[in-house]
Structures are given as structure tokens and as C-alpha cells.
Amino acid sequence: MSGALLQLTGVGLAFAGNRVLDEVDFAVPERGIVSLIGPNGAGKTSLFNCITGFYRPHVGAITFGGHDLRRLKPHRITAAGIARTFQNLRLFREMSVPENVMSGMHCRTHAGAFGAIFRPPRQRAEEAEIRATAAECLRFVDIAGDWNRVATTLPYGHQRRVEIARALATRPRLLLLDEPAAGLHGGEKQELIALINRIRDERGIAVLLIEHDTGLVMKVSERISVLDHGVMIAEGTAKEIQANPRVIEAYLGQEDAGADLEL
């Protein structure tokens, strides 16, 4: 796995002595679609937060494209090529749909106060590029029309897609999606599967997915990792995971999950 795009080795995280991640080894290959599943509170979102620099693991190594990420601030990690969405929608309120997506281009552009006030040709070209990229990302996730609306007034499923467009605007090599199907209905879930595949196929972006909808996970992922109480208990293809006794046991601990594992 040394050729992996993202590599976590022996990552451990604790809050006030409460162990959230325990010696986690994990990898995402270049152009891979990988899912991370596990019961609520297993530590999946915490793992995302470690990768994106919001949490600092106490032990272990995280490398991306061979570079150490551990001491980088979140904005540097984004600039290095990792983008994310949030489990709970985190769109910028009171801002329009394109304005939200333009935020992704911040780390790819440079104009400051001087450029804003005097508007030299360089700044104008950059501004045009920001707008063009935002428009292009919105078309990619299939948000048409509605552009002058405040993003948080869109229907829920559209807001999810605007968040993905915003992450794509950072021009990532790896996209982390935290429960992107939560709250979507059946048709929208099918569209999400298609979108995830297009993100990888057309843009060559690797996708790491946290998702509770096991059906969706089984359909879209090439590899699946299972986290339980901060421990990585299994890794494999959809078939291997479904047959894994430790996984079944972990899910049986949950009230509703027995059926969840079926396709």
C-alpha cells in the first residue's frame, strides 16, 4: 500500500482520556472509491477531522501523495489537494449559490486588498476564472437555474450538491464525503451514486465516503473499511465485508442495523 494517495499509519486520537481512534491503519489509492462504514460514534467523522487537520492525532502518521500532513493547518491541507463536505450541511448562509462555490477557489487564487481596490488586469482575469470555475462545478453537479438564490434556501438535496460543487472548486485530488446520502430520497441517492462515479471517472479524483446507507456503499465502493469503537475491524470488497463475522457482530450491536447490511 506504499503507493497509496492517502496513507494513515497507527493513528490514535483521544479526548480527555476517552479513546476515539486506536492504531488506525488506512489507505486510499489514487483514483479509488473507498468507503468507511461503522456504527454511530465509531469515530468516522473524527477520522475525517484528523485527515483534514481539524483534529490532531496523538500518535501515528498521515501522508498524502508522500507528504506528511500532520502539522499542517486545515487550509493548507485543502491547498494540498484534499477537499471535504460536512455531515451536517455547512453552507455559508445569506450567500448566493455561486458565491458559496467560489469559496473553493480561494486557495487557488491570490488577489488581496490592493487587487480588490485597484482592479489590475491580473485581478480581473482571476475573478473571471473564479466565476467560471464556480459555474462549471455547479453544472457538473447538475445544479442549473436557481443561481441567484441564497444557497440555504434551496431544497435539501440541492444544498448537498452545492456542498459537493464547493469542494470540487478547490480542485482536489481526494474528496471526502461525510454521509452525503443522509436525508436524500431514493432517486436522489441514485443520482449521488452516478455523481460519485463521474467525479472519479471524469476528473480522476479519489473519493473517500462515510455513509450509513449500506446499499449505496456496496454499489459505489471498490474497497470498504469498517470502523468500530475507534478500531479498524475489517477491510475488503463489498462481498468480503458482508461475509465478515466481526462486521456482522459489530452491526448486530446496533438496534436497526441487522437489515442494513443486506443489499
Binding site: T78, R84, R90, R93, E94, M95, S103, H106, A111, T153
Partner: protein, 332 residues
């Protein structure tokens, strides 16, 4: 979903109805252009129509427009609570006073010095403080404001408690800026520049980044925005506006004293920003006008005027918590 959690949405029937046409006016490009032209024409003729006393008051109001627009970058755009803004105002004023009176520098050469001094002060105060993720800034800026005022009171170079006087009125290409009317027009130009700069900043990569950070720091960081750097840019930009306001304040009055830069001054400017609806340029201009002209217009009430004014402000805050100017997000 998630549509009705905006603060102040659907609270104020009467005032909201009033704000409706105002919003429509602000939305219509042609109407807006006509409004701006009318306003500029009014600005030009005002000294002739209203007389010298009003000209002096209006000059003061225009100064507050500049200061409020500067603080608006910090508070309105970037969402940073700055309780010591008058300190930068003082930096500008004292730079002019000290350099022209004690060193004999030409007035116009003090401008870049004031800008650099304010920017440096902004970096020194903001640099360490803005790293912290809380309202430390409010406390630190409050302290900074008081330190600047108290220092000015106690140093001989700043003229101690009595301040500096006899600051010369400047020349500009053969125009001696001397009469109240001269200063009025000078401040008109300053205010227009401040508006233009504010508009351009708002509609830029940096201006959007301020809003991203103000609305959701974590999401902004996840989008690759360096929150400390972006906040520092806002704080320093505000500092420069404040210092420039101070520079022209000093030459206008010809005399400055520490009490011009008190905490009350900072609060007054902050009030203009909040009253106008943080981040909204026309609102902030209106806020500055109300804060300065309000007590003047109520002068006939005598002793009661400040009380009436305060109650008026309270009512506005109560009924329009997000400012008098209609906000964005009305498009549902």
C-alpha cells in the same frame, strides 16, 4: 428547511413594510443610479442651502461615514468585535500633529506615515489576538483603545492632557483648504472614496473570504481559507480607514486632545455600524448620519434631546435587530 432560522426574519411588521419599498428601490439599477446622482447633487449644494453651521455638522457626519465604513470592514464584513477603534483614529490624528508641528513635515507626507503606523499597530494587536478563536479581540481592542488614549495623555510629545494645537491647514495644488466649506468638500471626496473602496472590497475575493469566515469559520478553513490571515487583513484595512479619518480630523479642527479618542468615540462608531445593519454600505452611511445628525436635529428639545435620541436608538435596535437597511436573503 433551513429557511427560517435567519435572525430577525419575519419579526417587524410595520418597519418591515416600510423597508419593502426601500429594498425595491435599492434593487432597481436605474432608480439606484438616479438616487446616487440626486445625493451627489445634494452634497454639492448643501453648504449653500443650509449655511455654515450645518456645513460644519455635515463635515463631522462625513468623517463618521469614513470611520463607520472602516469599522464596518472589521465588524460587518469579518464579524470581529472591535471596541477600541478610536485608537486608530488617534494614531492618524497624532501622526499629523506630531510630524507637522514637531518635525515640520509637509501634511501630505504624513499620510503614508499614518497609514503605515496604523497598519503596523493593527498587525501588532491583531496578529496574536486573531489566532484565538473567541472574543478575546473585544477585550484586547478595548484595552488597546484605552492604552492609546492614556499614553497620549501622559507623553510630552503628544502634548499631555491638553493635546496638540495649531496644526496648519493644508494646501492642495494651490488650494488652501481653510474655510469650513473647503473642509466640507474635502470630506465629501474622502467619504466618496471610502464608499468606492468599500464597494470594491465587498465584491472581491478578499471581501467574500471575510463573509465566509464570519458565517462559518470551520467551513471556510475547509475551503482553503487561512482564517487568521483573512481576519488580519480586515483588521488592518479598518485600521487604515480609521487612521486616514484621524489625519483629516486633525487638520480640520487644527487641534486634538486625548478626549477625542475615548471609549465613547469607539462606541459611537460601532453604533453607526450596527444601526445600519452590519456589512451593508448604504445602511452604515445612514447609521453614521443618524448618530451625528440625530442629536443635532433634536436640538430644539433642549435637555431632553439625548434621552429622546437614546430611546429612538433603542427602539430601532428592538424592532430591527439586523439594522435599518433591508438585508439580503429576502429572495426566498
Amino acid at each position: 428547511m433551513a429557511t427560517d432560522d435567519r435572525p430577525g426574519a419575519g419579526t417587524t411588521p410595520a418597519l418591515a413594510r416600510l423597508a419593502g419599498p426601500l429594498a425595491a428601490l435599492a434593487d432597481n439599477a436605474a432608480a439606484r443610479r438616479a438616487g446616487i446622482v440626486a445625493l451627489l447633487a445634494l452634497m454639492v449644494v448643501a453648504p449653500f442651502v443650509f449655511g455654515e453651521y450645518a456645513t460644519v455638522i455635515l463635515t463631522n457626519a462625513l468623517l463618521y461615514v469614513v470611520l463607520a465604513l472602516g469599522l464596518n470592514v472589521v465588524v460587518g464584513y469579518a464579524g470581529l468585535l472591535d471596541l477600541g477603534y478610536a485608537a486608530f483614529f488617534a494614531v492618524g490624528a497624532y501622526t499629523v500633529g506630531i510630524l507637522t508641528l514637531r518635525v515640520g513635515v509637509n501634511f501630505w507626507l504624513t499620510l503614508p506615515v499614518a497609514v503605515c503606523t496604523a497598519a503596523l499597530a493593527g498587525v501588532i494587536i491583531g496578529g496574536p489576538t486573531l489566532r484565538l478563536r473567541s472574543d478575546y479581540l473585544a477585550i484586547v481592542t478595548l484595552g488597546f483603545g484605552e492604552i492609546v488614549r492614556i499614553s497620549a495623555r501622559n507623553m510630552s510629545i503628544t502634548g499631555m492632557a491638553s493635546g496638540l494645537s495649531g496644526i496648519h491647514q493644508p494646501w492642495l495644488f494651490g488650494w488652501h483648504i481653510a474655510t469650513p466649506r473647503d473642509f466640507y468638500y474635502l470630506f465629501c471626496v474622502l467619504a466618496i472614496l471610502a464608499v468606492a473602496v468599500s464597494v470594491r472590497l465587498a465584491d472581491s475575493r478578499l471581501g467574500r473570504a471575510w463573509l465566509y469566515v464570519r458565517y462559518d469559520e470551520d467551513a471556510a478553513e475547509a475551503m482553503g481559507i487561512d482564517r487568521v490571515r483573512v481576519k488580519l487583513a480586515a483588521y488592518v484595512t479598518g485600521a487604515i480607514f480609521g487612521a486616514l479619518g484621524g489625519v483629516f480630523f486633525a487638520v480640520n479642527l487644527g487641534a486634538i486632545s486625548p478626549e477625542s479618542f475615548s471609549f465613547t468615540q469607539s462606541v459611537l462608531i460601532l453604533m453607526a455600524v450596527i444601526l445600519g445593519g452590519m456589512g451593508k454600505i448604504p445602511g452604515v452611511i445612514l447609521g453614521a448620519m443618524i448618530v451625528i445628525l440625530g442629536p443635532e436635529l433634536l436640538r430644539s428639545l433642549g435637555e431632553l434631546r439625548l434621552l429622546v435620541f437614546a430611546v429612538g436608538l433603542l427602539l430601532i435596535m428592538l424592532f430591527r435587530p439586523s439594522g435599518i437597511w433591508p438585508g439580503r436573503g429576502r429572495q426566498q
